[in-house]
Amino acid sequence: MKPEFNLLDRREFVAFASKLAAVAGLAGLARESRGDDKNSFNYQALDSAKHWKTDPKLIGYAEVTRWRSQRIGARRLAVSPDGRIQVCADNYISSYSEQGDLGPEIALPGLGSCIATTEGGDLYVGLRDHIEVFDKKGTRRATWKPADRKSWLTGLAVGRDDVFAADSALRVIWRYDKSGKLRGRIGEKNEERNAPGLVLPSPYLDVLIHPDGLLRVNNIGRHQVEAYTMEGDFEGAWGSASAATEGFCGCCNPIGLALLPDCHFVTCEKGLPRVKVYSAEGRFERVVAGCESFPENARSCSGLNDCAHGGLHAAIGAGGRIFILDIVTGEVRVMERRV
């Protein structure tokens, strides 16, 4: 007996094929949006991603202007009494106006690693292991003898009679007098002075002199800002480890310190690049700029690179304006308090 077939007519066949194609297309789209493709498969995303966006209510500053250092390798900046921004980049100190116009430059014999200014306009520059002093015209006044040939200076603070240099390699704050004579070492583990010791998984030691007469040092491995007398006695600390906005993220933060005219602290972080303001007692107050402000800086710590070469640095100008140097891009952001 001859079998019978129910043949589809052309209209029915085309309708069926269209439905099949539509279903297959939707399935493919859904798979792609789930990221199932082998090459984009990334289930490793850190849980810190939610901190990459700052709550707008916490941001208390607005960007006034932004400009880029005209020399590569910008690492630190300071503000002179005349309002000019001194940027330590490559083998130069470059002087910029607040709008980013380049002025006179000072050539250095090596890579500048930190900088500080005085009320008289003198510049103190750290060059890896030693300090050089320039007057406000850029004339070299002194080259100090290195405290140790292994030193790596990453922060400077200049007081009335003393100069303090943060040495990331030896984990110590060197105390000099104004003639360059070494007078002491601060921050090393010392039970008599109650000092817990500086912990530096990465080279970001900074120091500043507070109007209360104490030094403030960022002990990044402990996620704290510590207070020391100028003789080296440990007086106290504040800060805690947390990826949340109130804390200091990652293994080692804050990487930089600055002081506002009202004695509030400005802290800089890496990993989650952000700049924040804390009260004199160490209570979180507000965000100056969050991770979303530094996308390239944030990317520099993921993917190919580790986070030992990125970061931010801040300096304070007249009226409490905050100048933030993005070490990755070389950009300087001028931030002003929102009214």
Partner: protein, 189 residues
């Protein structure tokens, strides 16, 4: 006058033997050179270039072995011996203890031990490591990048075409001399 017939001149037996001997000598010298070059490092194996690795996680899933031949290794010279190691701890740990909920590693393959206040040492247990690179991502994102991935050659099957290399988004897999089969990170100074 002898006419040029255009036919090739026949090779004499002496000439034939001389040419043959030369050919054998040249071939022998070539083979000897090849053998020496091969012995001197011609053999290559697959390895991951840490400078190109994106810590994407493919190494854990794409290897032909059930448990990947890629393992995390630790460059102690680069390590900060952090109390809060972002390769060991979750981004927001409840506390800095070795409790499972605080750890980033899904198989608890990193052993944390106290050295002296506030330093801790982190050692990879390769029997447990699956090469997922979660710790590598955490260490690189905040720290010095002392944790990184390498193909362990006591496990690798030395496939002619590495299955992970085919899918590596960073093109981090390359052939290296079998005499130096690892690409290790070192301290910058």
């Amino acid at each position: 006058m002898e006419a040029n017939s255009g036919q090739p001149k026949p090779v004499s037996r002496r000439q034939f033997l001389r040419d043959g001997a030369r050919l054998v000598a040249v071939t022998g010298v070539g083979a000897l050179g090849g053998a020496l070059a091969n012995r001197a490092g011609g053999q290559t194996v697959w390895q991951i270039d840490p400078a190109k690795c994106l810590h994407c996680g493919n190494c854990a899933t794409q290897c032909v072995l059930e448990q990947s031949a890629v393992k995390c290794v630790h460059a102690f010279a680069v390590c900060g011996y952090c109390q809060l190691c972002t390769g060991f701890f979750d981004a927001e740990p409840n506390e800095l203890t070795t409790a499972a909920e605080n750890q980033l590693c899904p198989t608890a393959a990193i052993k944390r031990s106290f050295v002296e206040d506030p330093y801790y040492q982190y050692v990879i247990d390769e029997r447990l490591c699956i090469g997922c690179a979660k710790c590598v991502e955490g260490c690189n994102h905040f720290g010095n990048g002392s944790l990184f991935l390498q193909i362990r050659h006591d496990r690798c099957l030395h496939c002619n075409e590495c299955a992970i290399a085919r899918t590596c988004p960073g093109d981090a897999f390359r052939r290296v001399a079998a005499r130096h089969p690892y690409l290790l990170k070192t301290a910058p100074h």
